[in-house]
Amino acid sequence: MAQRAANDIPDGSIVNLGIGIPELIASVIPEGREVLYHSENGLLGMGPAPTPEQRDHDLVNAGKKMVTAVEGASFFHHADSFSMIRGGHIDICVLGAMQVSECGDLANWSTGDPDALPAVGGAMDLVGGAKQIYVLTQHCSKKGKSKILQRCSYPLTGKGVVNRIYTDLAVFNVEPDGLHVEEIAPGVSMGLLQERTGCSLIYNERRGITI
């Protein structure tokens, strides 16, 4: 899934990877592509996890995990960092999701449970700012409910912000007329995919390449 998304990241892109599964993408970018990673806490040119000698509690990513900085990196403060995001300078942002709707609405910060401690972080800024928003998520929740829906029931992170969705079952493009199936995972039938999905899918035969 991360590999499939990584294949779609062009050489020279500036990418912000959300906390969790999206972080895996950095390690599976195809050979020969140079991609720069932006971390919203003030680093452009984030490198891989540190070796034991490189560990530095003041060099962390947005998930507060220790990282490294590549040659050609730069550090800046939070307002400058979110200017890059809000100003549309990040090419691609890959985020996890609780729910995505067929019109590209994303819910990934709150279940709306009044007892839960609300926390939003930079997700709303990212979905409103990056040029392309990719969602990388399991197709269904742990309880087996589809995360791909006609409408999100959870509070939104952003309205109509998602461009592409990568799940364990398929790859979708969000287009004005709805969700287009771009690819289906090996062994998954269109019938099964539609059954596991909470909205009508648009399927173009020509695009039926397995992933």
């Binding site: 900085a69 403060h77 926390a119």
Partner: protein, 236 residues
């Protein structure tokens, strides 16, 4: 003669009053001015409003300040931190108020407060719960939310080097909110690892010009919040 160095943390924090609005630098544990926060716990000011991206972790630093009952309200983007219930427990009991702000909007509101920009329109959060009750307006076909500049009485921040004018440099991603908060407070108090002679900091590389800094404390071997939390330390 301009010399912003103050001898002790106690002196530096002496005049912080009950009810003050305090910006605390740092992003999670990186760049958190732990010694200054502990000084504020010792100092004892109450009914504080704290502005920080998070809500602290473990039982040190900001989490300890919250546990000490000194904070009435937190303005932040992400109060959930692994291994800390200080804020969550008080919040669920209704004993602490939360103003949840998207991270970039928080940074921009602080920057606006420091830059004399009264308010601004941002697309962030338009159409979400966090924009409810806020004015919105369409610019170039996009819905934007009106957000107000944010100022504070005090900023407690951490930097790497300072000179006597208060010019500051930072270390890696410990920079984060620190320089922005330095601009937005009536009194900015900074802990640094080293005070260097005037002229030692390249004028092209000053991140926070001294104009924003009021008091500088030399904390030459700062403890890192991450290590304190790992070790299970509790303050005081």
């Amino acid at each position: 003669m301009i010399n912003k160095e103050v001898d002790t943390i106690e002196t530096a924090l002496n005049d912080i009053r009950d009810g003050a609005v305090i910006m605390v630098g740092g992003f999670g544990q990186a760049g958190s001015p732990v010694e200054l926060i502990h000084g504020l716990i010792d100092q004892g000011a109450k009914h504080l409003t704290v502005v920080n991206n998070n809500a602290g972790s473990g039982h040190v630093g900001l989490a300890a300040l919250i546990e000490a009952g000194q904070v009435d309200k937190l303005i932040c983007s992400f109060p959930r931190m692994a291994g800390s219930d200080a804020f969550g427990n008080l919040y669920r009991d209704g004993d602490i108020e939360l103003e949840l702000v998207p991270q970039g909007t928080l940074a921009e509101r602080i920057r606006a407060g420091g830059a004399g920009v009264s308010a601004f329109y941002t697309p962030t959060a338009a159409g979400t719960l966090l924009a409810e009750g806020k004015e919105t307006r369409i610019f170039s076909g996009r819905e934007c939310v009106l957000e107000l500049g944010l100022k504070a009485d005090i900023a407690l921040i951490k930097a790497q080097y300072a000179d006597r004018y208060g010019n500051l440099t930072y270390y890696k991603t410990a920079r984060n909110f620190n320089p922005v908060m330095a601009t937005a407070a009536s009194t900015t108090i900074v802990q640094v690892s080293k005070i260097v002679p005037l002229g030692s900091i390249d004028p092209e590389c000053v991140v926070t010009p001294g104009i924003y800094v009021d008091r500088v404390i030399n904390v030459s071997t700062p403890v890192h919040e991450a290590l304190l939390v790992e070790q299970g330390c509790v303050y005081p």
